[in-house]
Subunit: 338 residues, 2 copies
Amino acid sequence: MATIKDIAAYCDVAVSTVSRVMNNHPDVSEDTRSKVLAAARKLHYVPNNSARDLAASQTDAVGLVVRGAENPFFTRIIRSIERSCADAGCTMVLHQIPVGADEIERAATLVQSKRLRGLILLGGRYDYTSEEVSSLRVPYVCCTYTNHFGDLSRESFSSVSINDKAEAYRATKYLIDHGHQRIAVLLDSIHDRSISERRYKGYCEALADANIALDEHLVFETGEFSMEAAYKRCSEYLSSKQDFTAIFAVADSMAIAAMKALSDAGLAVPHDCSIIAIDGIEMSLYTVPTLTTLVQPQSTLGEEAVRILRDVLSGATTSGHIRLETTLRAGGTVGHAH
Amino acid sequence: MATIKDIAAYCDVAVSTVSRVMNNHPDVSEDTRSKVLAAARKLHYVPNNSARDLAASQTDAVGLVVRGAENPFFTRIIRSIERSCADAGCTMVLHQIPVGADEIERAATLVQSKRLRGLILLGGRYDYTSEEVSSLRVPYVCCTYTNHFGDLSRESFSSVSINDKAEAYRATKYLIDHGHQRIAVLLDSIHDRSISERRYKGYCEALADANIALDEHLVFETGEFSMEAAYKRCSEYLSSKQDFTAIFAVADSMAIAAMKALSDAGLAVPHDCSIIAIDGIEMSLYTVPTLTTLVQPQSTLGEEAVRILRDVLSGATTSGHIRLETTLRAGGTVGHAH
DNA sequence: GTGAAAGCGCTAACAA
DNA sequence: TTGTTAGCGCTTTCAC
């Protein structure tokens, strides 16, 4: 395996010169530059990342910490982040952590051991405190969420997200506009200090604005973000009664599980029950009927996260916040109440 | 940032002693060991991977090259590989490549620049030649496939897979046993030198063994491995006629797309058409009716791939091949022909 | 514009 | 059982 030393010897120059050429430093004569480049190609030189990182005391790597990678909504985002990183020439280190783990703690360790330059967090909490994130010591971007319940200053972190409350409001309103009054909401927990809590807020406000009283019995908390839990929760409720005409699910995956529960209970969508969700995962195009949902710009979410992180790392900015919008895709799961 | 030097100074021992402790080397007295460990914790020591890799002149990283990461079947496998790597204390470098790209070429470059110790390949071709893989220069494991159409010797590579032909035979036979004679097959291409070609073979043999003539019109080639293509292909066919009573899809995702196409054409599953597939992705539990499929042990596939790679890297073996079996999950998509 | 040399933090002989 | 020391391959001052 050829090293810069080999090339230096081969070209009869100093290793520092080779290093300069490899890093596109300005002051190298055109002559030596091309000579070195030719030798590098000839000797099949490939830089050793470890050595480079050690000397520069930082890597070219950014970390992607994903909590709850089982969520199908993340697949496309992860793919787009990986692709954007590759295009930008930096290594992406994927680290998946269990739903119960503390992503900040894990991320901090990862940053140190892998000498990461920056982080992208997927599926994190909405309530970071400035104290806890101080352990990170590198720039980070919250992807698909922001610091709604925390105390971070806008300048101290970055985020790419949608307006959870507003979008949930929109979804609920869509059902109300279709004549629904008894609308159930399917979510993880109304006190999760995270996505469910925010979207629940939007649901509540939409009901309030339409003068519909909130009925706690129609708040289906699953306790975790899985299809299995969503299916179970719906089934339990349906086995006793069905006194709602529509469901707003905070995620496509949950909606799909709910549709299955409805079907198993002998109910037809949308005839007996309408359903709407937020996400727009690929699979939601293939449910029968097609799921009506607010589609998040998944690829863009990932691309923007990488873009912001790079801008911050290059010193162009100190932080960045982007709020994207969803697109309503009217499928066949919402009908008029009767 | 604390280094072993800091710890050495703090404990008044040599750096090599600290290094020994950190690497669990045997001959260190219990006294010094605990003293060093305590200091490490106290000073928040985290080893610097770059330095470690450089000194050891190899990294702790293995690469995972995924071709066609959009395939939902891969999600759980990727997750399990990542988890197994983390548990084993090695870094996993994920690299996704487009369906059209050459995974061996990409992998070879990745190995050199990142100094990878080994590779796991997901979604690769079945026809590697010994010449092309020689560029890899590190041990690799083919995950979910093997070298059926290539010329590799068993000792020169590793694999974790199912018996594609046999499982396809089993799926087709299951339909035949339910009285079906006009059975369509949904796949990428019968000449893809890969998964589709192997499974097609199993389909053909099952038909032959049952004395059912192969009807080329019932071979639905999509040309690519996507839900969209599968949906389109089925829809096209159905718009002209429906002269089959069952479909064998080579993948769950394709089957789900086919079910949508059937539904859109006004056909009921399984009444008008039965359907069976191979994979067992989570989503297939939530289709209506539940998809009947041969479930692959996805987590095990990933775990075994990592285990084999580690065995090879540690020198315990030179290669390993594991063939796993699927489990039939009878859902509601297969009925008796009438 | 180029070279010499001092590390980056760690591992692994080799001594003691 | 422990310490000393020489690198691993590269970047980066600082001279020239």
